[in-house]
Each structure stands twice: as structure tokens, then as C-alpha cells.
Symmetry: C2
Subunit: 230 residues, 2 copies
Amino acid sequence: MLNKILYICVLFLPMFSQAEENYIKTIFHLELSSNTGISTNAIAKKIDTKASSVTDMIKKLSEKGLVSYKKYQGVTLTKLGKKIASNIVRKHRLWEVFLVEKLNFSWDEVHEIAEQLEHIKSPKLIKKLDEHLGFPTHDPHGDPIPDENGNLQTIEKRLLSNLKENDFGICVGVQDSSTEFLQYLDKKGIELGKKITVLEKEDFDESLSILIDNEKITISKKIANNLYIK
Amino acid sequence: MLNKILYICVLFLPMFSQAEENYIKTIFHLELSSNTGISTNAIAKKIDTKASSVTDMIKKLSEKGLVSYKKYQGVTLTKLGKKIASNIVRKHRLWEVFLVEKLNFSWDEVHEIAEQLEHIKSPKLIKKLDEHLGFPTHDPHGDPIPDENGNLQTIEKRLLSNLKENDFGICVGVQDSSTEFLQYLDKKGIELGKKITVLEKEDFDESLSILIDNEKITISKKIANNLYIK
DNA sequence: AATATAATTTAGATGTGTCTAAAAATATAT
DNA sequence: ATATATTTTTAGACACATCTAAATTATATT
Ligand SMILES: [Mn+2]
Ligand SMILES: [Mn+2]
Ligand SMILES: [Mn+2]
Ligand SMILES: [Mn+2]
């Protein structure tokens, strides 16, 4: 019932600006790894803007019913806000799949372009794109694609840095999807779907010695902190 | 040589806003069917804005070297302006081909979506899209797609309304690509590539009796004014 | 040529999204 | 508990893109 009302609301909803969408999406991502309200500074850092700008925008989003906000308390997305946000994430990830699968982009090139494509407004376009791509469930970086209703499946996965010596698993995702990090992985031969075994953990600098493709390589803690294993 | 300089300019060019791009594109289209400078009112009408807004924008575009402008004299695109404009048209039409050929949209649905997609900024994306589509030369409405250098091939074509009785030809394009007009054509069975013969021209209301698919139908002058024949 | 009409530009205002600098509230340390 | 540091908000400004109303210039009519 509440879903139906929400659905009707979304149908009659005013369009959101690119700026508004970027704020909503950022808050959505920050909420996934936090259980408190999202701070002004955290948002400012992600969006690369000033805290005062964030405060201004938060007020507007609050008036539009997308976030709930009390001064100095940080923000949380409302049900409607989450719906809008996950739809943007859905578009972003579907476009990334398109760019890699259909246009032969490599996985380190697609994020910036998807940042633009995610703001294209046409529900029919996304329906058809989804179909064209064969209803993918994950983007090129292993992140799940929310469904039309905004449901985002969370797969159990662990950071490589949390594995113990002799633990192993399949590489299923990246925490950081910047061009630099992904190109580093390419250089080291680390890809989604590959088996990784932890051979040794160095106490001194927390670097890891891992086995991949029957090759033994050493990676820093920073790398291991950005790789997901299942 | 001048082309090379232009190319270098384009490479180092600041990005243009969506509003600026829409003005440039509109002036480009108006120049194709006009030999004088483009008037403020003509632009205002196409963009659905006020003449005063157009004057403001024209000044900005003039300062950026995209149009040449003298007060009260209308504007013309500079070489650089034409380059930018044809690139936007190129993107618009390639996206339209994608939507029809790959996502199975019908030709009356794609224009609005392409209006958004044409502003996505990534030369590599367009290169790859072009390749993915097999380097198409025309969009779903029969309009030519400019090449990477901005060259737009003009095919010889005549308005159906200019044909005489017993003249015939192949339908190769539409003047108006609004949803309403294209859906009207669908209803009447008029498609690109079909042979049309003019049977009779009515003096009274300038309506036409035409033969298409061995069927005789009557169309108004307005329709005949928006169909191109080769 | 003078006048009326139409097109264009200017002046001044608004809404959006951003910024800097200063004030206020909250969190941390002594 | 008080002082200090950090975070957040406010105040005031600015660039962009738009608008209305008024002034200016160009064009058409008599
Ligand atoms: Mn991404
Ligand atoms: Mn974005
Ligand atoms: Mn179009
Ligand atoms: Mn456009």
C-alpha cells in the first residue's frame, strides 16, 4: 500500500536537477557504510564542494521530502529519497554494463561517462537498455544493480585485508573504482572471478603475499582494503 | 592549415553548457534554410524562450567566438561555431540510430531522448558508438549524420509539395520530426524508402492525391510540405 | 518624410547552485 | 567545568540562465 502511494508519488514527481541527483546519490552511498546520520562534511568531501553549499542543498532536499534533516544532526534519506537514489544508481550501473559489454570500453574508463548518462531522464530508455543487456545483475566492478523497485541485493563479501593466512576466495568486487586503481589491478592481472589465496601477511607494513593464476605477488594493505572476496 | 588550428582549438576548448549547445545547434539548423543572418526572434521561437534571453546568450556566444554578431543584424556561426554545432548534430543523430536500431524504439520516440543524449561529453564514446552502429550515414528520419570533421553531406531532395502531377520518387526524409507528425505517417503507411506517385493536385485546398503501396490516399498540403522525395 | 508597427536590446529582477568569511553550535581536551 | 578545536550554519556575494517591462532601433505604411 505504501509502495503504491510511493509509486504514484514518483509518477507525478517533479524532475530533479543534476545537482540534486548527485547529492541524493552521494548520501545513498554514504548511508550504505554508516549507521548514523550523514554529516555535512562527509557529503562535501565526496562531492568536492564546500560545507556551506551542502547545507544549502540539504535544506532544499529536505523541503522536497527527499531527506530528513535537523540542524547539526546530519541527514538521512527518506523512503522517497532512497527510491530516487537507487534508481540513479541503477541507471549508472546499467550504462556501465552497456559501455563495457556493447561498446568494448575497459572497466576503468566507464565510471566518468556513466556519471553523465545516469542523469538522462527516460524510464522507457532504461527498461529497453536493461532488456538489451539481458537484465544484468552486476556492473563491471561487481556492484549489484538495483531493480526497478529500488531493491538492492547485498551479497556477502569480505575485504581481502580481512582474510587470514591460507584463506582463499573469488574476487567479486572493488571498493574503489577509480581509473588509477583499476589500471593497477589490470597490471597485476587481478580480475573479477579470479581465485585469490592469501599466502602470508606481513606484520611490519601489513602487506599481503597472495596467489593468483598460480603466480605469487605482493600487494600493499591499501590494495587489499579495496578488493572484495567471496 | 586552418583546419589544423581549428582542431587544436577544439581540443583545448572549454566545455559548453547545455544551454549554449542548444543555442548553437538551433542557429546551425536555422542557417541551413536561410542565407541571411539568423534573427533573434527566429531563435527565440525555436528554443521557446524570450527574445531578451536570446540577446543575452548571443552576446556570450559572440565573446566566446562561436557566432559573429552586430547589434540588430542577427547572428551567423563562425567556423568554430559550425564545428561545435555539427558535432552536436552528429551525436544527436547517432544516438537516434542507436535507439531505433539497437533498442527497438520507433522513429517517433527518439528525438526527445536524443535531445538529452546529445549533450554527453565524451569523444571516445561517440567514436565507439559510431563503430558499434556500423558507421551509419543517416538517422531514422533520413537526415544525414555529419562526419567527425563536421562535414554534412547534402543530398538532393525535393518537398513532396513541389512535385507535379504524375511525378514520382522515393520518400527519403521528413522536415518535421515531431512525434505527432511521425505517428500520422505511420497511420497512413508512409515510410522512408517507399515510392510515392502524385496522382492529382487539388487547386482548392492544395491537397494531394498520392499513390503509395498501390493504395491511393489523400494528404493535405501541410503533410506534403513536410515530406522529402528523391 | 512622418508615423505606426515590429524587432531588438537594455534595465532590473528572480531562481539555482556555488563561494568566502563570519557566527553559532557541537565535540574534544585540559 | 572551562577552554580549545572542529563542524555546521548563516550572511552576503557571484555567475548562469531566465523573465518582464521599458527603451531603442529598424521596417513598413501612409
Ligand atoms: Mn561507477
Ligand atoms: Mn552524476
Ligand atoms: Mn532528432
Ligand atoms: Mn539539446
